[in-house]
Amino acid sequence: MLSWDELQKAKFTETNARERAFGLVDKGTFTEFVSPRDRMPSPHLPVLGEAIGYDDGVVTGIGLIGKRPVFVVSQEGRFIGGAVGEVHGAKMVQAIKLALKAYEDVKEKYPDSYEERLPAVVISFETGGVRLHESNAGLLAHAEVMDQIQDARGKIPIIAVIGSKVGCFGGMGFVGAATDVVIMSEQGRLGLTGPEVIEQEMGKDEFDASNKALVFRTTGGKHKYIMQDANFLVKDTVGGFYQQLQEVMKLPFAEIEKFRRIGSKELVEEQLELVKLAVELGAKDSMDVWKYYGNEDPAKLVDMGPEEFLKVAKRRERKLG
């Protein structure tokens, strides 16, 4: 495994879930919970003749960013596409539950200064959602994660990190959308229905899943950043995400709440305006929307490096937030 310092410079897309978990918090502070040493794999895979993973495709644990305890969930796409089954799901759910417990404990012990020690949850998504091999258990686990996210509302921030090869799709696509802050890289992808499924359901005319450029400009980091579905766009290194997390941790919680896209009547009404726009524009391509938001030559944005993109890209203006 790469050292923490090496990880900071390493490409996020090329690191594994454990490396990301280590690299997303302060140097040397990460402690893993239910690590492979505990040997608690999925009990449902062997009957299907599938290989097990001793971490069931997700690394969970705790680290620090400054004084703040950060509960980390880091999914591994190389294990069954990062899909969520009973064990994987329970680890995710419990990470948030423990962060809420930590919140209560910190508040009690430091009633006047708990904000500087406010726990946070960071979820590095790399998943297509429900694991089909244990689909019912995976489905129920998704509902539990959403339930915990609502429990965390107004108490502790839940931050999505999306920069992996697999992206964040299926049921986890709405879990990502339900977090407080979304940080993406250009390589990260966020959505509900994956490209192959759209093609299969709607036909190649509607969506050609083999067209990588189309796939990236529909669900990739740049598009989500323009739409304000991603709050921050960072470069594809572990350090890029870590530094952005440090910045977010400096903000007061009231500011963080403003990054939300959904979670109140006002936000739903704001989103409905966007749905109206979808009808009015009759957009056939995400670039039509980029243009609508004032990007005169949207095709140019596609190949632009991240630094220049951040300088010139015009984003959807929000009434809220």
């Binding site: 129920l140 009404e269 749905v275």
Partner: protein, 295 residues
């Protein structure tokens, strides 16, 4: 049986069967109006259950959405999901000054094959629409509104997560009605996982974490009670609303909703590792907590 065709595609009929005669007011929660033009695939509003006001949220499989061609036969599109969310927020608003035990119930009538797939949906963010509705339901549930979902037809994958799995309790018509609860048909699972369909068929006979169907979901704790007759829906929904209300009054919200279904799954022997993971993680966290909370 009178309903040999089952109840698939009959969300509006179910509303008539469950709510008092002539009590249904569409797009209205008290005097708060929801735009009747949006989301035709979802029916929302207020009805009476033996005189008691309740918000209903149902799929209308007969409707098509003229603006979004992926929305037909009960699919939940962006407009539908946001309309459903608004029904929930308006319900909270209408009862905001009422004490916990007087918060009105929400009844979800579930018959949906999926969330809207499509390029437009991905460009504008279908994930936010379905997520937004779920957060609204979770908030209402935690505020004290009893939420009961009644699966009358299809409760498929992400659409069931969207419309159903955030309820306090879930009921389902039994399988003779053609009720379907699953993530994906076996043929698709076989194709994606590359596991032989024969093996999958064999397993689906007795493996609740994997097999499709109401009975398996019941064993997993995903369905609270199976309803055998459509005539019984009203009485059983009312019974569960009363039960949920009692539990909330007694401060036992942990027994309800997604978390409660986890405990139920353990009790019924369908999901027993979840609890071990939770305990192990808590134990390992407790061992290091001081170091992190007092850094």
């Amino acid at each position: 049986m009178d309903y040999e065709q089952g109840m698939i595609g009959r969300g509006r009929d179910a509303l008539e069967m469950i709510f008092d005669a002539d009590s249904i007011k569409e797009n209205l929660i008290d005097d708060i109006q929801i735009d009747s033009e949006i989301g035709p695939g979802a029916v929302v509003g207020t009805g009476l259950l033996d005189g008691e006001k309740a918000t209903f949220i149902a799929n209308d499989a007969q409707a098509i959405n003229p603006r979004f061609n992926v929305v037909y036969f009960g699919v939940i599109g962006m407009e539908e999901a946001y309309k459903m969310a608004l029904a929930v927020y308006n319900t909270m608003e209408a009862d905001k000054d009422k004490p916990l035990e007087q918060k009105r119930p929400l009844v979800l009538i579930v018959d949906t094959p999926g969330n809207g797939p499509g390029k437009t949906e991905e460009i504008f963010g279908m994930n936010k629409a379905t997520g937004g509705y779920q957060l609204a339901l979770a908030e209402a549930r935690k505020l004290g509104h009893p939420i009961v979902a009644m699966v009358i037809g299809r409760a498929i994958s992400g659409a069931f997560l969207c419309h159903g799995l955030q309820a306090d309790q879930i009921l389902a018509l039994d399988k003779t009605f053609g009720t379907m609860i699953h993530v994906m048909p076996l043929t698709s699972i076989a194709r994606i996982t590359k596991i032989d369909i024969e093996r999958l068929e064999e397993l689906s006979k007795d493996n609740p974490v994997f097999a499709a169907g109401v009975d398996f979901f019941h064993k997993l704790g995903g369905v609270e009670e199976i309803v055998n007759k459509v005539e019984d829906m009203k009485a059983i929904i009312k019974k569960h609303i009363a039960e949920v209300r009692e539990a909330k009054k007694a401060g036992q919200a942990e027994k309800l909703g997604p978390w409660g279904r986890g405990a139920l799954g353990d009790e019924r022997g369908g999901r027993v590792v979840r609890k071990k993971i939770i305990e192990k993680m808590t134990e390992e966290y407790n061992a290091v907590a001081d170091k992190y909370l007092n850094a």
